[in-house]
């Protein structure tokens, strides 16, 4: 996957992570906040789990993703 919007330079090392079961390649050094911006998700309405640990909203900016991270991003939908 080519993604210059996040990467900075084309030679930057890439991360391979999994988001909601889908493989994704990102530039190294991307934070959770950067991932959410990349995906176009409004962070007010969601929750993020990284490798089975909740990432508190207040830590989105400083939490950097690592190669192999398993990310879950959830929200509320209709249910009984």
């Amino acid at each position: 996957m080519t993604d210059t919007s996040l990467a900075g330079t084309r030679t930057a090392p890439t991360l391979r992570i999994t988001v909601n079961g889908e493989a994704l390649s990102l530039a190294a050094g991307v934070s959770v906040a950067g991932l959410l911006d990349h995906l176009g998700l409004p962070r007010r309405k969601i929750a993020v789990e990284r490798n089975l640990e909740i990432v508190p909203r207040s830590l989105y900016d400083e939490t950097l993703l690592s190669d192999g991270d398993q990310i879950e991003i959830v929200h509320f939908i209709g249910g009984g």
Binding site: L41, E72, H75, G78
Partner: protein, 263 residues
């Protein structure tokens, strides 16, 4: 009789007061518009919601929160679809982060076709959630021993099934629902199984504090009208319970005077 004797000042769970004794789910509607209209017609103040993965391919899809605002309704996140204690606890921790509230509905389900509450897993999840400061309203079997144990653990509401989820079979074991209510010091809600208004009224006549339902409204031919029917049914059932029904007898007992008839 004056108006004050007809008042019902509602019920309280985990320190939160609700006037409506109807709690409704937000699933299985044809559209979010229909969801919003039905919930408004039901008069419910608390709604259950599910926690699911965001659709990454359509991040701007309309969201439940835009139609059923959490500022207007108390969201009760559930663990629908969870078949292990770990999944349920994980789901509710995410719900707490997404919504910022501790009041949750725990349900850990056994396999199809009954999705009957898995009580061993329910106890395990309840224990972990209570230790993590959640306020747990718990879906459970119509088992008075299990219900009492959940209450003693610290669950804030006991919610035995009337019948399997989405079955529309009504309250199939009313004696045990009554027994669970009679021994409980926390609210008891019939959760699951209600199919139509008379069954919601019946659950309330058993003395339950509230009724939780979803499919009965969402799968009615006219969900908005059924939502209104459920609102009235729950009110009627509560009044009937408080009024105290007359005794049953297989023999007749005439309502009109037996004397003074013409000859």
């Amino acid at each position: 009789m004056n108006a004050t004797t007809l008042e019902d000042d509602g019920w309280t769970v985990a320190g939160r007061r609700f006037r409506s004794r109807l709690v409704v789910g937000t699933g299985r509607y044809k559209s979010l518009e229909e969801t919003a209209a039905s919930i408004a017609a039901s008069g419910a103040e608390m709604v259950t919601v599910a926690v699911r993965r965001v659709n990454l391919s359509d991040p701007n899809a309309p969201m439940l929160q835009d139609f059923v605002p959490p500022t207007q309704y108390t969201y009760l996140p559930n663990t629908a679809g969870c078949h292990t204690a770990q999944d349920a606890v994980r789901t509710l921790r995410l719900a707490r982060e997404a919504g910022g509230w501790n009041l949750v509905k725990l349900e850990v389900l056994g396999p199809p076709p009954f999705l009957y509450p898995d009580m061993a897993a329910t106890f395990e999840a309840a224990s972990a959630l209570l230790a993590d400061n959640f306020e747990v309203m718990v879906y459970c079997a119509d088992d008075p021993v299990a219900a009492k144990r959940l209450e003693e653990m610290g669950c804030v509401a006991i919610m035995p099934l009337g019948a399997p989820i989405g079955s529309g079979m009504g309250v199939v074991n009313p004696y045990m629902i009554r027994a669970i209510k009679a021994q409980a010091k926390v609210p008891v809600l019939v959760d699951a199984g209600i199919g139509t208004a008379s069954e919601a009224a019946f659950a309330m006549e058993l003395g339950c504090d509230a009724v939780l339902l979803n499919s009965a409204i969402a799968h009615a031919q006219d969900p908005v009208r059924m939502a209104a029917a459920m609102k009235h049914a729950v009110i009627a059932g509560r009044h009937a319970y408080l009024a105290g029904r007359m005794p049953r007898d297989y023999r007749a007992d005439p309502s009109s005077p037996t004397t003074g008839t013409i000859r």
